[in-house]
Every structure is written in structure tokens, then in C-alpha cells.
Amino acid sequence: MKKLFIKRAMSGIVACLVIFFLNVVSYASDDVLTMKLELGKSIAYIDDEAVSVNPPFMGVNDVYIPLRAVLDAFGAEVIWKGDGKINIIYNSININMSIGELEYIVNQQNKLLKEEPQLLNGITMIPLEIIKDNFDVTAAFYRSSGKITIILKSDGSLKDLSFLTNSIVKKTAGNSYFGWSIDIPKGSRILTSSFNSKLVKIINQQRRIVIEIKVWCDNDISLQELYDNVNDDPETYLGAKLIDSSVSDKQDAQYVEFLYNSIDNQAVLHRVYKSSKYLYDVMLVSLEETDPYVLKNSMYYRNIMNTFSLGYKGDLQNVQDLSKIDYGFVKYDNYLTLLSGNKYFLWQMDVLPEWDSLNSSMLNNALKTKIGLNNEEYLIVEVDKLDEAITIEEFGEKEKLFNKQNLNVKNYEFISDEILDISGNKVYKLVYWIKLGKNTYRCEDNYILSGNLVYNISIKSTNKAYIRQKGNYDKMIASFKPANNEIAKLEKDIANYKYEQSLNMLGKEGKYIEYKNKDYAWKTKFPGTWIKSMENSSNAELFVDPELGMSVFIEVVENNSVTNAMNDIDKFSVMRDIVSQNEFYSGNINQIAFENVKWKDLDVLVYTYRLEDDVEEDYGTLKFYIINRENYSYCFFTMIPDIVATDKNIKIINDIWEWFEVE
């Protein structure tokens, strides 16, 4: 009897396990969630599990279901915003609705319900329409039985994690904006991609290769010219000794090809293609081959290169689009790393895809970023910390006043100013003309105050270029987003940086400071904000106004038989470098005056020159004051750029000269 019992029990258990496994198999797919509700019933079934719910009821046009019960089962986020406003977030769906209102918003699009959401005994009930219309479900209401079935068809699980690993999952990679595509071997991933996807480096570790594609926007040069240039001077263009070069004979895919070894002795197969808008550098670098001919002759490598083609527009299914461009713009994130080593997100702005960062060592201010296509098309974003709380109106007035006091009326003309609201930012827009040589530029400063920081997006362009790009510039400014995180730390770091910079100042803002050169016994006074060059030696000292660009250079030469016989222009290195050897400034330096004057009972020779550099757009007046004393000769040099040559600033330079005293 016992044995039979056990046998039967065992078979029963086995049967149960079989059914269990079958059920497990059928529930193994999490993609489908099935909810079964019924009018008037307070029990619903979610995947056959009974849960208690507020009973669904019949409205005028639609059946009402309990919002919480259904959306919790989906896993959606429900935010109660008060006043009957509800926000629902489910993956890429964002719904905003209100109790009692027919109008609701889905992903910023207005939609209209046939029946409004209701509050019943504190429970929010929604028409089935909201679920049916906005979620990936099959939903049905059977009037005859009062049964409601909602099947969630997908739960948004990620099928492709290649965005995390930067893998190339398709057979071909391309850039729909810059118009190129190339077949990529399996198992490759993106090593780097610049913010505008102009430069993409793809690595395949198994094959030990790196494929690099770089897009250039200045394509005025023909492929033949480029070919000749590289052959003439490969070191400059490739940074390597050229092993071989050739021109393709294909009619449809014109390119020039170079073979060389990289600086790490890796074999490189380098082709340059040209389209109507761009030049393309396509490089295949082998991480283990050192003989570039292998890349050229081996079918495998050549086959990759030969699949490179122009013209991809983003319209092909089997091509992974690496373009980061959205509606003609690309996001540029600017990060700031200052003395503390902390890296901060400083600002973000949409820019044109062809643009790149143009920062150079000349612009060595960490708080300034120059971004653009070239020197004709760019803008500068500068950040500063306000010393005290100020309204944007007050700030604007200060800027206008600064320009009036410091910019020469011959070179500067105010056009307009206004305070605008752009994308939630209050912007003070100051527009003016700047004349440099023969060119007149339309300049625009857009100041944005955010907390204790002020951002300036400044644009300088010819009027023609501005009219052509106006729409784009306006869009870029409208997209500007200042830092919004760790603001206190960021402000502190910027304040420290400015303080460090100010340590280079001779004195304090607003005060003059006496400066003595003890070795050669001369002295004068400078405005406190002027800085001294780091490279000064006691017989040659340079002082600069960092904000306005005016400078004073004082050189002392010992009188001896050699120097006594020299002309001033040869005796003083400052005159030599600037005037005869043109080393300091490029452009034309022409003498316009020479005077012999009496100054403090001394004979002083004054040479006046004009600097006119149309290339760098540098224009200014240079003066050399030469004083010959018994043991030493002095050269007091001043430079005032035309643009800041207002009466106020000319007086500052003259005062420095007036206070100059030699032993």
C-alpha cells in the first residue's frame, strides 16, 4: 500500500513538474505581459496572477481602467505633480495629462482624448484609449463580456549594447553628413570619434588594424596638387619618409595614395579622396606590419580600402551611421580643467559640423574657447566670474561704457544693444562695427549671466558672411546651455584661477604702482593691472596691458666703443627685432616721424613707426624713445594698437613715459 502511494505521489509530482516546466517555458519570454481586467470586478490577472484593483467602469465613450495598477505592471514611472497633473514616463514615451482634461501632451505633441481622466475615491482612472494609443500594446475591450485585455508587446529591453562598447555591428560604417562609407571587418569598435565625427578611428584588435577617416573642410586644392605637395615635402605633410605614392586611375573613385611608416614604424596605407565639399584622409594602419607594401598588395587590406566610397547619405539599412549631426548641427561640450585638476562641464552649444576648436597657444586663456571653421568664420566663448551680484541691465551698461572709453572711434562704432530672452537665458546682445585696416567687421557680443558667472559668445564676421550665416549663428546662440552642475566648486576654481593670473599683475586694479629697475637705476609707474613678462631680463623688460594689448618695453645697453659706433636701430635689440628684422610683428613697419626733443633736461630721440599688417589685422603706432647717458643708453618703446588708441589710453602710455626716470 505504502509503495503504491509513493509511486502515485511520485507520478503526481512528476506530472506537476512537467506542467511546471511547460509553464516556465511559456513564461520564459518577458516581452509579453498580459493583463486581464473586467468591468466592475476588483480582481485583475497579470500573467495569471491575481491582483486587487479598483474596478474598471464604463464611461460614455470608453472603458476606464485604474492608472496605477496598469502602469505599475508595465513598470512605467508615474509622477504626481499636484493639482491633478500627472506625468508618465515609459522609455521614450513622455505623457503629461490632467484629471478632468481632454487635452494631453505626448512627447511635446498635443493630443485630444475622447474622454477625460477621472479621480474616483482617490484612485485615478484613465480611458483605455491612453494605453492603446501610446504604448506598444494590443488592447481590447469586449463589451459583451465586459472583459478588458491588455497585452504589452515589448518591454523595451535593449537588444543592442553596441552603444556602450562602441562596437561596429553592421557590415559597413559610414557618415551620412560627410558622405562616406567603408566596409568594416567583424569585431571592430570605434576607438575615437571627434565631437563632430569629422575624425573617426576604428580598431580591430583581432586583425591588428586601425582604420582612420578624417574629413577636411578646406578643399580648394586639387588631388594632383596635393599629390605633388606631399611628394615634394612628405615630412611636412605626413611626418614621415614617403615609401611610395600613386594616383588612382579609376574614373569614379579618384584618389591619391601614399605608403609610409608611422612614427612608431607601423605600416600605413593612406589615401586622399575629394568630393565637391570635402577632402577625406583614409588611413589603414597595421599594428604589427612594418612593410607598407603588404598593405598595398595583400588582397585583405586592399579590399577594405577599396570599399571606401563617397556619397552615403544615411539611406542604407546595412550601414552603421557614425554621424553625430542632428538637423545640421552637432553638440559641442566644453570642459574646463583648471589648477585644482577638477574637470568641469562648462557649457554646451550646437555648432556647425564643419567647425572645430581653434584654440591655439596664442589664446592661452583657459576660460576662452575659439570654435569655428577658420579665421573668417568662428566665434569665441569666454567665461568670467562676476565680482559682485549685478543685473544684466547693469552689466550691459558697464560693457557699453568700457567700449566707449577704450575703443578708438576711428575703429569702433556702436550699432545696437538689447536684452533678449533666448531659450530661457537672459542675453545682453551688443552689436558694433570694428574697422581693421580696409576691412569692416560686424561684431556681436552675447552676454549671458548664470549665477555668478558671465558667459560671452562673441562673433566677428564680415557683414556679408554674417548675413549668410545669421540663421545659423542665431540657432547656435539659442542652443547655448551654461554649466548647471557643481556650480559652487566651479566658481571657486575660476576665482582661484583668476587670482593666480592676477598674481602676475604688477599691482592692484585701480591703482598705479611704482616699478624700479635696480640694476640699471630706472623707474616709472604702471597701472596696477599691467603684467610683467616672465622672460624679462634686467636689461630688457616688457610690460603689457593684458586687456587692451598696449605694451611698454624698456631696454638698456652699456656704452662702450662697440655700441657707441652703432646706429640706434642696430644697437637696441628691440629696434632690431621689430624694425629691421621684422621678427616681432609681421606686416609693414614704416617710419613716419623722427624728432629730437628736450625732455626733463635730456635730449631724447623719438622714432615713430606705423605697423600695418593686413594678414594678421594688426594696426598700431610704435614709438622708440632713445636716451643716451654717460654709461648707458636707454630705449623706451611703446606700442598702442589702433583700436584702443582713445585719448584715455594714449594718456596712460604718455603718463608711463612721463614718470620714467633714469639716474
Binding site: 502515485r8 500573467d47 505599475d72 556602450l164 568641469y344
Partner: protein
């Protein structure tokens, strides 16, 4: 006959009574043992597994650890504490992530949103849009008993061989060198992979969230976890305000020397500076005042202070017992909100 039917029915009930919301067969079989009351380590692990998630993301470019040359992937662990997709983890795991991906024990991956995070507690709340998940059971602070065996559970997924289950005992309720809150000290090994995951006791309840942030580098056998009462405090604040609203007093204070060493002390917290126009300033608290008690709770260390602040909110009033020039005074302070 009846007995057999009953036996079958019991068998059916036992099997079907098990939660069906995960697909992996082995885990559900494990659940059978757990429900039967077996607290062996394998059974505890499989009981908690559905609630433990792997978190993987790409570092933000602004992160100091971002390096263009490498893949910049970061890993961690999280605990599902609400069935509709709310997950708790460490703030340091997710704060620097550009995109956060959560991987469930069944291998499926979902994009997550960062809802709130707090660096001081090193806790963060993330959300995946997935329902019908198995939340972990939270214990109470009374479940944290020195000497008790605990498990630190990492994700079932192996991200670069990092994740694991480790076992230890609760060594103490000490603090680490830098933290402001009490931490559970145990010797269950915690690494970058299982940071953000649960510390569970032998009853399978979560008594802490593991964090590598406060662990001493190169010190063996000393791991720290955020105790469950701090976790509940933070999650409560996150749900209401999307951040922790700490009461703001407006003083900078220093602990007594003995307290800094962890020795018993009656020294109190000495006020070093008082912020102008702060609640402390407005209540007349001065530099060199020694705060001895807040609402009757002894203040010896900064941990005492921050732990006390957990029970207070901006706008609340508290009585501070202060020693000033050898006299004891009582000051009423109304806290403001810390910015």
C-alpha cells in the same frame, strides 16, 4: 486516495506557489528551497538574485577618470527595492555615467534613468521602465548585529570577472575615515564590481548597501556598507524631493581629539565658525560654543551630528545644549534648508 490527492495538491501548490516572474529555471528551483526555509548560502543567493542587478555605463567625458584611449566602461551593482523598477545603488557608481544600463539576473538589459543621488551617503536612485520585478526585502537597523554572518552579493553577470558573492561577519558599526554617516564594517570582501549591491543577513534581508567609496585602499578585511536605516532615509528623501533635504544650521565645527580617535569622550562639538544670517547666527550661537546635545542626543562626533540630522528636516526646531565659558545654556534653533 484522498491522501494521495492531497499529496499531489501540496506538491502542485509548492511548485506553483513559487514566484513566476523570472525565466531562468535554475533560479526558480532555488526559490523552492528558499521558501522551504533553507538558509544555506546558495539558497540565500538564489533568493536574492532576482533583486540584484548589474549596472554598466559609459563614463561621462567630464569625469576625471575619462581616458580617450580606453573604453571608459564602469560597472557596479544595484538592488531592486520596488517591483515597478526602482533600484538603489551607490552614487559614485552612477554619477559619472553618461548612459546607465541595468542588467537583470535573467540577462536582459534595460536603459535606466538617474532619478536622484547624494554624495554624502553615497546612495543613488535609478529607474528602469520594467514592471513585475522582485524587490529585495529590507531589514531593520535592529537586524544589524555585530558578529552576525553576512553576504555581500554582486551581480550574477560577470563583468570582466569582477562580480561575486563574498561572505563575512559584521565587525562593527564604525565609520570610515572620511564618511559623515555610520557605516557597517564587515570583512566580506567588497570590490568595484559588487559596490552598490546588498549586504544580507542569514534571514535573507538586506541590512546594508555595500560601498567601496569609503573602504581603505590596501587594507584587508575592512569593508564598509551603508546601514539600512540610512538607505531608507535616503530613499524616502529621494522619493519626496529627488534629493536629500538636510537641515541647515550654519556652523562649522570640530570634534574633540578623543572623539577623532574614536575614544569615549564628553568633549562635544566645538563651533569654529558661524555663517552670517544662518539659523545658528540668528539663534545667537557663537564661535567657541561647544554643542553637547541636540534634542537630548549626545553630540561627540560629526557622525553623531549627521545621524541626528536624519531625523530632522528644514523648518524643524531643535534644542541645542551648549557649553559656553563653563556655563550650560539651551538654545532653540529652527533649521533652514541646506543649498
Amino acid at each position: 486516495m484522498k491522501k494521495r490527492i492531497i499529496a499531489c495538491l501540496i506538491a502542485v501548490f509548492m511548485v506553483f506557489g513559487v514566484s513566476l516572474d523570472v525565466g531562468a529555471v535554475s533560479i526558480t528551483l532555488g526559490n523552492v528551497f528558499a521558501n522551504a526555509g533553507d538558509s544555506s548560502i546558495p539558497s540565500l543567493v538564489s533568493k536574492l538574485s532576482p533583486s540584484v542587478v548589474g549596472i554598466i555605463g559609459k563614463l561621462k567625458e567630464s569625469s576625471p577618470d575619462y581616458d580617450e584611449q580606453y573604453d571608459n566602461l564602469v560597472f557596479g551593482t544595484g538592488v531592486i527595492y520596488k517591483s515597478n523598477g526602482y533600484i538603489v545603488t551607490n552614487a559614485h557608481v552612477v554619477n559619472d555615467m553618461e548612459k546607465i544600463v541595468v542588467v537583470l539576473s535573467n540577462g536582459k538589459a534595460y536603459q535606466a534613468r538617474l532619478k536622484a543621488s547624494d554624495e554624502m551617503t553615497d546612495l543613488a536612485l535609478i529607474k528602469i521602465d520594467k514592471g513585475r520585478l522582485t524587490p529585495a526585502q529590507f531589514g531593520d537597523v535592529s537586524d544589524i548585529i555585530v558578529g552576525e554572518e553576512v553576504l555581500a552579493i554582486g551581480t550574477p553577470m560577470s563583468f570582466s570577472l569582477r562580480n561575486s558573492v563574498t561572505k563575512g561577519i559584521i565587525s562593527g558599526l564604525n565609520r570610515s575615515v572620511e564618511g559623515e554617516y555610520r557605516l557597517i564594517q564587515s570583512d566580506a570582501a567588497i570590490n568595484e564590481g559588487n559596490s552598490g549591491g546588498p549586504l544580507i543577513n542569514s534571514a535573507g534581508k538586506v541590512i546594508g548597501i555595500n560601498t567601496i567609496k569609503f573602504s581603505g585602499i590596501g587594507v584587508e578585511g575592512m569593508s564598509f556598507s551603508i546601514p539600512i536605516d540610512t538607505v531608507k532615509y535616503a530613499l524616502n528623501q529621494f522619493e519626496k524631493y529627488l534629493k536629500i533635504k538636510r537641515p541647515y544650521l550654519g556652523v562649522e565645527f570640530s570634534e574633540g581629539v578623543a572623539a577623532a580617535y574614536g575614544l569615549p569622550s564628553n568633549e562635544g562639538l566645538t563651533v569654529i565658525s558661524v555663517d552670517k544670517q544662518s539659523p545658528a547666527d540668528l539663534s545667537g550661537i557663537l564661535e567657541d560654543d561647544v554643542i553637547i546635545e541636540i534634542n537630548g542626543s549626545k553630540m561627540s562626533t560629526k557622525i553623531d551630528y549627521y545621524e541626528k540630522m536624519k531625523s530632522l528636516s528644514p523648518g524643524d526646531t531643535a534644542v541645542l545644549k551648549i557649553e559656553r565659558s563653563d556655563k550650560i545654556i539651551f538654545v532653540n534653533v529652527t533649521f533652514d534648508e541646506k543649498n
